[in-house]
Symmetry: C2
Subunit: 435 residues, 2 copies
């Protein structure tokens, strides 16, 4: 093994996270050098100039060609903070091929191609750090990778998309329609100009894919995940949920029962008394249930320059330690990702459900609906019918006991075929077992 005389970092990108990282790193560079007894340097920064303005004193570090970093034999660690699938993915594969270790905050890339990247890292004995890809400044991956390394994760309930959570919190606390609240969030910078990936659940699903692999030591692809967004959540649903003692949150859910796993992202009714229901705005939260450690909850800032850069900095220290120690072994938990556990399809999900029917105000409607549910062995837990017409029809809200999703949806389709039902029925899942 070579004895390292210095460790050099190449930074890909200079956006919000990268510029925060540069700042934090610079503050600690001297101390790090002293602790590790060798200099740790940021040697080159690749930027196309579209990110944050590069301060005058570090302009000399910038390169216009990523290859200048990827092919530089003196660079030990490449930090990829460009985002998106390509060219980030090619850059990472090339860096690993050239013997470099990798740090990335790129959840989309890891969700889509993480397993190829892990494989390449193992093959080339490269280290990879990606704490910043899930939960921003919250050390959730370390909690699972290291803290619970000797435990068994049974379930994870998470709020992992700040934009969706901001919108649902506003709708819950201050009222307002989805579209209006989204517009406000965009004006204030809490939602992007194109917020689709955030509000349609894709961003949460990216994080669930990464988390699920570590939590269950299994291969997990985006196609395995049930994904529904918050686009169709109305103020009516939020109010009815409240009346029933629930709050609507976009949850990322992982469950492992008898080695059959569930991985899903969808708006969910959770008890208004639960901790997760109180996580408002741009906070992220994770409720992890482990076989031996029991329930753990972790909350904090899930995004933003400084929190995300703090996580990147933690990865830098871990990988520098490994390089200085000459450690060429893969992370314990990544080596464990060998199996492909069975993932439950939508048909196999068992859940409680919230159903909001739009009915024409006519006698006998309720008996027709409850008749169909009964024939399909869907058992009703509670029912609300009140108030006046909403756009020409009356809302009827029914919550069910636990039911199989396939049977539930079949019943709803039957109901939607009734002439007294005037619009597609809203179906939301309820999770009660959240502390």
């Amino acid at each position: 093994m070579d004895i390292k005389r210095e460790i050099n970092i190449g930074l890909l990108g200079f956006g919000t996270v990268a510029s925060s990282f540069y700042h934090i790193f610079s503050e600690q560079k001297k101390e790090l050098g002293s602790i590790f007894s060798i200099p740790i340097n940021i040697k080159k920064i690749f930027t196309r100039g579209s990110g944050h303005p590069v301060p005058e004193n570090i302009k000399k570090l910038t390169v216009k060609n990523a290859g200048d970093i990827l092919e530089d034999g003196s660079i030990d660690i490449v930090i990829e903070l460009i985002g998106g699938i390509q060219p980030a993915g090619d850059f990472i594969i090339k860096a690993v091929s050239n013997g470099k270790s990798i740090i990335t905050a790129n959840k989309a890339l890891l969700a889509e191609h993480g397993e190829e990247i892990f494989k390449k890292c193992t093959e080339k004995k490269a280290h990879i750090g990606f704490e910043a890809a899930v939960g921003g400044g919250i050390p959730i991956l370390r909690a699972i990778k290291n803290g619970l390394a000797g435990d068994k994760v049974k379930s994870v309930y998470s709020i992992i998309n700040g934009t969706s959570n901001f919108i649902l919190s506003k709708m819950t606390n201050e009222g307002g329609k989805f579209g209006d609240v989204l517009k406000k969030a965009q004006e204030r910078g809490y939602a992007e100009a194109d917020p689709s990936l955030d509000i349609n659940g894709t961003d949460s699903a990216h994080k669930i894919a990464i988390l699920g692999r570590l939590a269950f030591s299994t291969s997990l692809s985006m196609a395995d995940i049930i994904i529904e967004g918050i686009e169709n959540i109305t103020q009516l649903d939020i109010s009815f949920a409240k009346e029933l003692g629930y709050t609507v949150k976009l949850l990322g859910i992982l469950k492992n029962e008898d080695s059959k796993i569930e991985a899903r992202v969808h708006p969910t009714l959770i008890p208004s008394s639960s901790l997760l229901s109180k996580i408002d705005g741009v906070f992220n939260a994770f409720l992890v249930n482990a076989k031996f450690a029991g329930p753990l909850s972790i909350t904090g800032y899930g995004a933003g320059g400084n929190p995300t850069a703090s996580a990147v900095m933690g990865d830098v220290i871990e990988i520098v330690s490994r390089l200085v120690n000459g450690d060429i072994h893969q992370d314990f938990i990544i080596s464990k990702i060998k199996n492909k556990l069975n993932v439950k399809s939508k048909k196999e999900i068992i859940s409680r459900y919230y159903l909001r029917f739009s009915a024409i105000d006519r006698p006998g409607v309720l008996s027709k609906i409850s008749g169909i549910l009964g024939e399909n062995f869907i058992s009703i837990s509670s029912m609300i019918q009140k108030g006046r017409k909403v756009e020409g029809s009356v809302p009827i809200v029914i919550t069910t006991h636990e039911a199989n999703e396939e049977e539930l949806l079949k019943s709803v389709r039957e109901c939607d075929g009734l002439d007294v039902i005037s619009a597609k029925t809203t179906v939301l899942r309820i999770e009660d077992n959240i502390s």
Copy 2:
């Protein structure tokens, strides 16, 4: 470096945590062996027979002399789960001297002698894991050691003693006197026969000493910590606090401002709307504020066989990884503990205060008290005087704005000298800046 052909563990003690650990380890032994490509064994168990009954099938592993483990050249890792300062401390020092790595859940020992033990480990290139010493199954030390390794911890507010929290929660939610609730807690096994170390704050202070060293990379001794217990908390104080919008909790507090730190354990009035105020019973909670990552909160089971053993298991996996990789370097964060930061004495503390005076119901009392406070520049935030006599006197509750503790206590001593004050005034600190 020797290539390891197997890794052998020696277990000191077979109480609740050790027997849980043995169970968890046995469940995973095969998988661990396969991941690390060498067998990982529990080779010997030292027990004096006073702990859990040793199952028949492992009786052959037990030794009656700790030396049989400490002097056994084939043992790589010693797990100390005996507790108490001695002989545990001697055992650990001997094990490290003999080149073994150490895992311990012994908070008292680490608080009192942690720095000598760390030094010895560094000298002998031994690894040490002690996640289980603070917060049971909650990976709080890893969050600070690894997750925030590249950040700066500004403050930690924690609930880290289950017994005290159970008693205060009961008194808050169900009423009752301290003594009666303690008795109930003992009957139900939530408090030990001799609960002194739990209720007088010592146990929390042990954990704060360990946490403070890691959080601030500083030497920290028990003598640096301000320690007050919950023995004198009355139902009257809990009720007045509630009326003022506060909940009384035994907090462990660490703060670092301008490299001057505060380390204290005391009953504290915190906003009833805060997350920490909702941590009831035997749960532990940590609210960590980091310069870049921002506020992080982590809650979970802070004690018990399985949660604590889960943390020990995480340490086993980390140390086995290091041994297999031939890593002979000390933990990054332990190497950082070099300095001795200044610790604020009681005199230097600035806080808001809750004062409960016992006054004889006579005109002019309030003007006398407020006069003394005014002369000492203690500014009053709120005042409650109502109700009838309690044991011959009337309670007057005053909360102050921020004040220096020395001046505050001087004023209180002056008040206590008044002939209208019939008992020693209760002084509690208020922390408002807890989210």
